[in-house]
Symmetry: D2
Subunit: 154 residues, 4 copies
Amino acid sequence: MNSPTDSVSEPYSGAFAGAEHRFALRVYFEDTDLSGIVYHANYLRFMERARSDMLRCAGIDQRAAMDGGTGYYAVHDLRITYRRPAKLEDPLLVRSRVVAVRAAACEIAQDIWRGDTLLTEGRVTAAFLGMDGRPKRQPGEWRETFERLAARSD
Amino acid sequence: MNSPTDSVSEPYSGAFAGAEHRFALRVYFEDTDLSGIVYHANYLRFMERARSDMLRCAGIDQRAAMDGGTGYYAVHDLRITYRRPAKLEDPLLVRSRVVAVRAAACEIAQDIWRGDTLLTEGRVTAAFLGMDGRPKRQPGEWRETFERLAARSD
Amino acid sequence: MNSPTDSVSEPYSGAFAGAEHRFALRVYFEDTDLSGIVYHANYLRFMERARSDMLRCAGIDQRAAMDGGTGYYAVHDLRITYRRPAKLEDPLLVRSRVVAVRAAACEIAQDIWRGDTLLTEGRVTAAFLGMDGRPKRQPGEWRETFERLAARSD
Amino acid sequence: MNSPTDSVSEPYSGAFAGAEHRFALRVYFEDTDLSGIVYHANYLRFMERARSDMLRCAGIDQRAAMDGGTGYYAVHDLRITYRRPAKLEDPLLVRSRVVAVRAAACEIAQDIWRGDTLLTEGRVTAAFLGMDGRPKRQPGEWRETFERLAARSD
């Protein structure tokens, strides 16, 4: 059995490696369905955890922005291709890159890997919305952050 | 308060109207997130409920096919665009059409409506898999069923 | 294949039979896990759908109460015993009874059945909270409704 | 922005501190509902992740046991009291202790904390089931492991 360490009491955080954000997670019972593999909609949950972590790593505080009435990101459209299944206890890695930035939206490519095996390939457009649910320009500083990240991807 | 009726004790089932399968559902707390609207990944759950119901309405018994070792459908790829949000207690209608049939897969268009308002537009490729998780030709009778449904859509 | 009917386009609603509220649902892929049966936490989702429907049947509009700043019900404590598993496509029936009413909370017994087989037995205390998340007296009219329902249970 | 490190590519694992297993996690959008806090059923998912991690930390390989036909643990009964809510991005800590061991079941106390604040208190009986879903004696070695852990709790 492992020894306790201080880091055990802190939730996991991902990190950037250049333009790419990396976020690791493990597959639990809740993620699977009776076919024995991860239920397809749950990959979207994994991708959203990774995007939220990416924002945190980039210094963007989503909760403060919601509490302060600034707004929040919502998925506008999404594509995903399922290439290989994931199973219980599999260690997965979500790799995310900002590929385009517009006034009120970002486009993010997100692939999920188990070791060297590509499991899913996705692309998400996240729109910035005001607290009334309507599209809104992203805060300037955030937009600059995403533009820097998108530039690294080139 | 309503009176009890026999139909209350039976789960809801959708139905075909010509080529189109219709499946109604209501939004519950579990479907929403803190932004006050339905969490984006949950529309995939709604779409999957509608596809499962469509198979039942078409006379295909997924559970028997799994129990008997024939195989099952799994999502191979999926696109979805979110146009308007859904909120708690909203009555929704998932409208599904088979748009293409191949040896081992079907393509299905699925839109979600609240009354006359289009909320999401999706397109799903469902691949047929053997119990080993590998692509497999759909049972001939099922394929014919889907081809008849796709023909109606033209 | 079924014929379309107007009722198909309306979401299912449960109903009271005397003191007992009945709510039927079907098990979908999303509800199961790799052990082939319904994942234990998902019965709580079924129970919450039934409680929300019970409020609707009793003339209580949760969404209006939240939008209007009155408050909402949240689970304060919960017990559940799992006696038999549910499987894909099983038709289930959630039977709910108000068993006690206090100033700021209701206690509800909720069992889940498949035909004559009892699958789970649960008991939930739902507390009424103001929009600040603090316990608050239930609206008087609602409390009277629950007291009438609890009286029927005796 | 953080630097990438090797540990970033590995999923989080909890650890034992004496008799107590600790498992940290963060709250994501998927966990919340429109009331702005974590949806009550999702604490059961957090508790299950912690129990699965506890088994891993104790050297028990659930997936191998399922693949090899030995069996798996399923929740038999569960009690939970919700004392304080958790919000988006909150860092949580699930603390689990084995409190009783029987031939075919274990009883586990699981509390969830945010810093020094107790959010929920739960108690779960996990029954060991054969692949046919029937209760079965736990493997002797596993039972001994749990008995050692329960003894530490005294």
